[in-house]
Symmetry: C2
Subunit: 133 residues, 2 copies
């Protein structure tokens, strides 16, 4: 398993390792409130700064859904500083509430004459694998 902090040229502090471990542990996106619960004790200012630098460096990405607190998930593809590349969708289960990044084989393209399309982000709600079984 690669060392994300070193890769992204970030100092390896105990706190950053701990926060990174939490994101790695989950297979889905989590809000800050979960991170906070999983940390034994923490300084909220440092946590905000940590999240910010993780997003900036392309370690995690933010998922904004209407009426939801922001969720964050480890970047799966090769994200870089400032540019996050998503070839996956963001799925919110209406039953269990889980928000996750789901890879799909045919990522759709859309036709928008006169516009120039840069990035496409897709958010889907419904029933996840588990809850649909």
């Amino acid at each position: 398993m690669r060392n994300l902090l070193k890769d992204k040229k970030l100092s390896e502090t105990p706190f950053r390792k701990e926060v990174l471990a939490i994101f790695t542990k989950y297979n889905n996106a989590i809000p800050l409130s979960i991170v906070e619960k999983d940390l034994k004790e923490y300084n909220r200012i440092t946590l905000y700064r940590t999240i910010k630098v993780f997003v900036e460096k392309g370690i995690i990405h933010e998922i904004s859904l209407s009426g939801e607190e922001s969720n964050y998930a480890i970047c799966q593809e090769e994200c870089d500083i400032g540019s996050h590349q998503h070839q996956h969708i963001h799925f919110k289960c209406n039953m269990c509430g889980t928000i996750s990044c789901v890879k799909i084989n045919k990522f759709p393209t859309i036709q928008l004459p006169e516009y120039k399309i840069d990035q496409l982000e897709i958010q889907v709600t419904g029933l996840c694998k588990k809850c649909n079984a």
Copy 2:
């Protein structure tokens, strides 16, 4: 032009009419800060409550983009209490910053075996008509 407030069974107060007129005036989505600027004077608590009830009743819908303050736009299709039906995408122009609801002819469907898909929301960034011309 239909009376949205009456249609949605909301009391027609001067303030609600004024806020609704602002949303109607714009052809794109706007954040609360714009609404506030356009109102001569207002009470921010009442504004929050107005926005909330407009969203609940399906008069406007919220557009959440990562790193942006929430934007709101008049519902174009037949949205109802609790369920917003979007057959359009949300486009953010990287040049002028405008966020708008854009209708497309072929709204994509995606294949997600084992999942049950309810709603699909698509957010696109790039250059808008104007800025791409």
